[in-house]
């Protein structure tokens, strides 16, 4: 304790140097906290977008369909039934369910054609599971059993559509025959999910089933639960009650590629932190060497009094830990201020993506807010101290191994 106290007192010898070195660590911590907060915010918003606009908390689907779902097949569809719905309703935390039918569409404006995803929605139920209608920026939702459609404002702009126009939707039925839907555009939406805005057309489920000739079949049931954290266990539990090949999948299964991407992003963040803290470690090494050179006679005295090399090393490590603690506290305070500023008004993602559509693979757009996680703060604080201490070991050993005579007379 005495040596630790002495180490901390040593930090007051050159206050400016201590502060500057600590600031390097603080800066590294600030960058990490901000990056991590941004990533966390983007992750939370992306998951919300997937749940609220794409998958719900659970999807009940034929497991053969699930494997090919990205190709929007009309094979392995589900026939809705009261028994199946009764089973779904027994799920813990059940709030609502809706039916959807997804299919491939070639959207035609008379000049150009664009492949998009068509989604037949159960208009009486869809808004109990999804939030699509909250994002209508123009017009209204389609009437049930009509040929009315809504699409993303972005897609409409791209295809030069406006509300009131008719869009020709070229489709292939279950029997592979061609058919068309002349959809009247009655509404435009602008959700925070960019791919939804750019490539999805929604229409009444019955119309889609009729034109695709699916005989009342649907792609999946989407289910909303009271708590998204229950989704994983609820999916497992529901799957045990469903008859094969039906299976329940949680929103995390639907967002698997995003989860993988986020894990990769996490690694990237760690690498960034490691690189910045390595630079901070150079600062620590420099500080310890300078301190040792300045205190060479003192070190000689310490050795003359019988202090062991390891005790001298501990003293320097204590000093480095002190710098780490100061830097850590400064970094955390700066990080909290930075994140608070970030969260007051949020940040328009287009300023990060230079006004483009690229969102680095995250299904989000508009204004984003950073997330907070105490564990991140604790992690980076401890990590900063550990890096500081580790960086001090070699210069401290160098100082501690100095010949006492040379040290005393500073030769």
């Amino acid at each position: 304790m005495f040596f630790l106290r002495m180490a901390f007192k040593n930090l007051t010898r050159h206050k400016r140097r201590t502060i500057i070195t600590a600031l390097i660590i603080a800066f590294a911590i600030l960058i990490y906290v901000m990056t991590d907060g941004l990533m966390l915010g983007m992750t939370e918003m992306s998951f919300d977008n997937i749940i609220n606009l794409e998958s719900g908390h659970l999807q009940v689907v034929d497991q053969n369909y699930w494997e090919d779902r990205k190709e929007l097949p009309l094979k392995n569809l589900i026939t809705p039934s009261a028994e199946l719905e009764a089973e779904i309703k027994k799920t813990a935390g059940y709030v609502a369910m809706t039916k959807r039918l997804k299919f491939a569409v070639n959207l035609n404006n008379g000049i150009d054609e664009l492949p998009v995803t068509g989604v037949g929605i159960d208009l009486g139920q869809d808004d109990k599971v999804f939030e699509l209608q909250n994002y209508l920026v123009e017009g209204r939702m389609p009437e049930a059993d009509s040929s009315e459609i809504i699409m993303g404002a972005k897609l409409a702009e791209l295809m030069d559509f406006k509300t009131g126009d008719y869009a020709v939707m070229l489709i292939r039925t279950e029997e592979k025959t061609f058919n068309t839907i002349d959809g009247e555009i009655v509404g435009l939406f602008n959700t925070p999910h960019p791919s939804l805005n750019e490539s999805n057309v929604f229409l009444p489920l019955s119309t889609a089933q009729d034109r695709l000739n699916t005989k009342g079949k649907i792609s999946h049931y989407a289910v909303r639960l009271s708590d998204q954290n229950q989704a994983l266990t609820a999916a497992e539990e529901l799957s045990t009650r469903l008859e094969a090949p039906l299976q329940a999948y949680s929103w995390k299964d639907a967002a698997k590629s995003l989860v993988t991407m986020i894990e990769m992003q996490d690694i990237e963040t760690q690498v960034v932190l490691a690189v910045i803290l390595t630079l901070a470690a150079v600062g620590i090494i420099n500080t310890v060497i300078l301190s040792a050179l300045e205190r060479m006679e003192e070190l000689g005295m310490m050795k003359a009094l019988g202090m062991h090399e390891r005790e001298i090393v501990y003293t320097f490590m204590g000093e480095a830990a002190g710098i780490g603690v100061i830097g850590g506290i400064m970094g955390i305070i700066m990080g909290i201020i930075g994140l608070s500023i970030f969260n007051i008004n949020g940040i328009d993602i287009s300023t990060i993506t230079a006004g483009g559509d690229m969102t680095y693979g995250f299904p989000l757009s508009g204004t984003i807010y950073a997330g907070w996680e105490i564990s991140s703060f604790i992690f980076v604080f401890i990590y900063g101290i550990i890096v500081s201490v580790l960086a001090s070991i070699f210069p401290a050993l160098w100082a501690a191994r100095k010949d006492p005579v040379k040290a005393i007379y500073h030769r």
Partner: protein, 229 residues
């Protein structure tokens, strides 16, 4: 039994390809409680000899017996142990730790041997500081003390662990004559009171006046060894 016995002690420094002999066969014995001054011109080998006796440096040839044990074959860690428990040092430039108070500087040395309770340690440090006349300056940092006061703190630091031997390398070199005299009086008092052995290196005639034994070194050899009553 003598506290220190040197037999045929030699030290040669290597400067590039040139060998520079600093000590050329020193034979000497120091008894417990002696107050000895080693003097001689600059470069004569005084400090080298003191470093050998103080287990800070290793000899090229010869033997050093400290308190009945040869220290020739000890490694750096073992030499540190000998210094830690048996030796006190007083340096010309005091070598106090600037961020610690006078009390803490003295406490530093006793902390290394750590065989006292907190209260014992505090009492011991305070009583020694009072003995060296700094009882009311215990909480001052070195930069708030005069040269003489700093050297008193250094003496207290050297004596706090009750060492068998105190080595002082030119302890008055940075002090005026009046302060030098005070410091020497103090060391002599401590020598008589605690029976601690003192060895000084100096070329200050005032220091030599206080010594009961004078050893003169010239060109790495003892040229004169004189005891005074």
């Amino acid at each position: 039994m003598s506290l220190i016995k040197l037999t045929g002690l030699e030290k040669i420094y290597q400067q590039g390809k040139i060998e520079v002999p600093a000590l050329r066969g020193i034979d000497m014995e120091i008894e417990s409680g002696e107050f000895t001054t080693i003097f001689g011109p600059s470069g004569s080998g005084k400090t080298t000899l003191l470093n050998m006796i103080g287990c800070l440096d290793k000899s090229t040839a010869g033997e050093i017996i400290f308190d009945g044990h040869s220290i020739n074959d000890l490694d750096n860690k073992e030499l540190a142990e000998v210094r830690r428990y048996n030796l006190g040092f007083v340096f010309q430039s005091y070598n106090l730790i600037p961020v610690l108070t006078a009390f803490e500087n003295v406490e530093f040395a006793i902390r290394l041997i750590d065989k006292h309770s907190k209260k014992e340690r505090k009492d011991k440090v305070m009583s020694l500081l009072e003995e060296v006349g700094l009882g009311d300056m215990a909480h001052r940092r070195p930069n708030e003390l005069s040269g003489g006061q700093k050297q008193r703190v250094a003496i207290a630091r050297a004596l706090i662990k009750e060492p068998k031997l105190v080595l002082a390398d030119e302890p008055t070199a940075n002090l005026d004559s009046e302060t030098s005299q005070e410091v020497l009086e103090l060391m002599k008092e401590m020598n008589e009171e605690l029976n601690t052995t003192f060895i000084f290196s100096t070329h200050d005639p005032q220091v030599m006046d206080y010594a009961r034994r004078l050893i003169e070194i010239k060109d790495g050899k003892i040229s004169k060894d004189q005891r005074r009553d």
